[in-house]
Assembly symmetry: C3
Homo-oligomer: 366 residues x 3
């Protein structure tokens, strides 16, 4: 698809990026697109030298590309990081869709809510008592803000988001549709009858500047203190972040992962999809947690782990390769035992071993 | 439970199905139900010959059943596929609940939105600029439709659904409550400071005819092009479908599975619950991916895989059976080594081995 | 954080709990907090003797603590279970935030809906035809209630919750934001063209008294009968509960777990995070299912299982410890074979074994 821009000269785009133009600086650019989809008045980019062969077929008017990549017949802006510069062009010149400015007539504000005049409150948005919305923040339709919530400036809150009481959002926070912030943490005590009884969660959630959170992700409030997601951390869809977690600066948590209560994640750490952590453990700075890992103990800073229970990456890869060969190895072990007279001949395996095999043999019902 | 119908003669039900009646064609049928719950004016079905013993206890007035199953004292409609014919009866004679027709006074339409006069827009539905809703489509309360969305005919969009800008739905699409379509894909670039910066996602999502999607599932928009769910594919609850995925005709994706970016799923493939795929891989036509599998490479058409990392089904079952016997096998290996003098006697295991054991011994904290 | 109370004498708090005061019974208590955050007019608690050293640093005015823990200079209420008594204080004296009483002008009620005069219906709440809301139940903004739903007394229904038709909630049910109850179950039949066709789900969901359900969790309606969550069961965030499940009294299901159709969970059972069950199986009373377990067969009452496919806890721990040592064991097995002349010398491993290794070696792409 092509995203339209307000028409702008290529020269102005280059100036915006602090770069220079090769070719026609006066070219009027009307849209941004991928190489394959761009037309003569659109700008596209070439990610790296490996993609240079794709230039031959593009119809784009202008390209952002590395210094050593041939732009063919296109005008060019040279960049050391074409993807990053392209992202900037899109962000600055094709700002994302905004609902009509101002306060929609069906939005419901509590009397003492404070909403900046430049903020956008769409249809059926509800703002609770004592809550504040900062300059230029956009709340799409059907967002619910409970009382005593603070929303900074330039935030984008998509439809269906719910911010429970006492939540704090910094500036430029982006919440995709359906995100739930501040639900009660999952903590129960056994009462005298042995039934579970909720431990009150009187803490809150703090989301710092430039954090982005994916659709239908849930972040629970702390028991007493704070659940905190630090500056520029990026959380994907359907992630569970439990009470009292602390997610570090620029950390990345990929879809459907779940962090149990009081998990600490260091800055720059990456947690891949569908991973999980037991509670009260630390994932060190810049650590890498592989997809589907199940953490049961701390992860050292900068280390790479996989598996459940986790192993250091290389050990896990070897263990998985070995696992595929295990049935063969058990046959070889039996042959060795027969050779040594430790086992009777083929067909006379012990009853105990046969019984144990049954467990696994039914695994296909899972 | 019994679902009520507008009373109809058994003969008319049979005609609707293109079948014939055994027994009383004039029997007035007022509801559909399971065998155990049906009463004398209800119709039920017997799935297969294995369930024929359940006929003795039913109070149902009429049954849909295979040619060779004894209907007892009930009137009968014979069918080669009783469950499928029963589903048709329910669908045609007991249509699902519809909110009151027309446009609710609290629905908010952008001025240039186009809504067919036969469509139903319930309370607190919001329709953005340039969006279109086709004939007979039903939007339940609190649905949000962003600008430039196309909704075909006869769709059912349940409460809490959010359709982001540029989304396209075909005809007869059913979205359970809380589905999010078109959230931004999860793609980041490292900026000059090493912090993650969002790659703009200017693509869209296309959902073809007869697709059904389960509650709180999320489908992300493409980076530049399309995320596409093809005709009659069925997606369960809490599934994650990332940017640029392409899900084939009639494919099935069961609850809590997650498909990473640019996963291609062939027609008729089945992905069982809680499975996951790494990005940029292909699941072939009619392939079967077992529950909790973690795909790291392509799956051949028609093949069956399990496990994470995946193995062909039979190899995985054998590996899992062997894994349960592994501790015993390690004991036997030590005995062999002692027998050969490759190892000192019992109790003198090497320190290295003992140390390694510690890793696993703490696994119960996960 | 400190949660404020309407000021109350320590004596009255003790009376509420049926306990006695040591120290100043007239002390005016204005808030509840954790030990570290409490000030001179707040009450905190000391969970157990292990936490007694934390008393020295607290600024709290009063403490709830075990009989044998030194309260330092604080006034004290002695309790056999300080956390439980603290929870009661918070619940009774700091009731959770309630939206303004009554029926908000933007709430939409069907004409024949019955809402108790003491219930709270917030902005943009929609109540369908024939539905009932009991005394003192609170519906936060943007909740959707379909027709024929029953909500008991003292329920708290948070924003974004959707209750599909025919759902029944008992008393004191708490639904966190985004919970979806009663979505259609995921059951399909192959039609004559081999395409999946929805099996109608005409059953309902029943949620008994004192059940609490976490944010964005989904509970599907039964095919014909009921999906039931029994008294005081507690379900965490992003859990999937499929059609016809039956969750026992006081059972606990932790975040992101998924129960396939017709799973039966006994009373007091605990299912840890990210676990899953195949359909039609039983998890016995007071059983414990470890995090990330994948159940493929019944779990005996009171037993503990881990893993996928599941093993009894001790066997699973041993298997996982052994798995980490497997690559080493395979090396030792080869050495044994060489010793016995069953294998050629180092470096001449069979081609077959080498080929098999490739599978696992690519696992890092997951």
């Amino acid at each position: 698809m092509v995203r339209s821009l307000k028409p702008v000269r290529l020269l102005e785009i280059a100036a915006e990026l602090g770069r220079e133009v090769e070719g026609d600086p006066g070219l009027l650019i009307c849209g941004v697109a991928a190489l394959e989809q761009a037309g003569p008045s659109d700008i596209a980019f070439v990610r790296s030298a490996e993609h240079s062969h794709r230039v031959a077929d593009t119809r784009a008017g202008a390209l952002i590309l590395l210094p050593d990549v041939d732009p063919g017949s296109c005008s060019a802006i040279r960049s050391p990081n074409p993807a990053l510069d392209f992202a900037r062009v899109v962000e600055r010149l094709a700002p994302c869709l905004r609902p009509p400015a101002g306060l929609h007539s069906s939005a419901e504000l509590a009397e003492d809510a404070e909403v900046d005049a430049s903020a956008v409150l769409s249809a059926c948005v509800v703002i609770g008592a004592g809550s504040r919305v900062g300059p230029r923040s956009v709340l799409h339709p059907n967002v619910t803000v409970y009382p005593n919530v603070e929303i900074g400036s330039d935030c984008v809150i998509h439809s269906g988001v719910v911010l429970r009481e006492d939540t704090v959002l910094g500036d430029r926070v982006v919440l995709q549709p359906g995100v739930i912030i501040g639900g009660d943490g999952f903590g129960y005590l056994a009462d005298e009858q042995g039934l579970p009884r909720r431990m009150p969660h009187i803490g809150r959630v703090v989301i710092e500047d430039d954090v982005e959170i994916g659709a239908n992700t849930t972040v629970d409030r702390a028991t007493f203190d704070e659940t905190r997601i630090r500056r520029a951390a990026k959380i994907d869809n359907l992630v569970q972040i439990a009470h009292n977690c602390d997610i570090g600066e620029g950390a990345i948590v990929v879809a459907q992962s779940g962090l149990s209560g009081s998990t600490w994640v260091g800055s720059g750490a990456i947690i891949m999809a569908q991973a999980g952590s037991a509670g009260h453990l630390r994932v060190g700075e810049r650590a890498f947690v592989g997809a589907r890992a199940g953490l049961h103990k701390d992860v050292a800073p900068g280390s790479r782990v996989w598996g459940a229970p986790q192993l250091e990456a290389r050990r896990w890869h070897k263990a998985m390769a070995a696992l595929a060969r295990l049935p063969d190895a058990l046959r070889r072990l039996r042959a060795v035992e027969r050779e040594l007279g430790l086992r009777r001949a083929r067909g006379a395996a012990s009853t105990e071993t046969a019984a144990r095999t049954n467990d696994g043999a039914r695994a296909d019902r899972t």
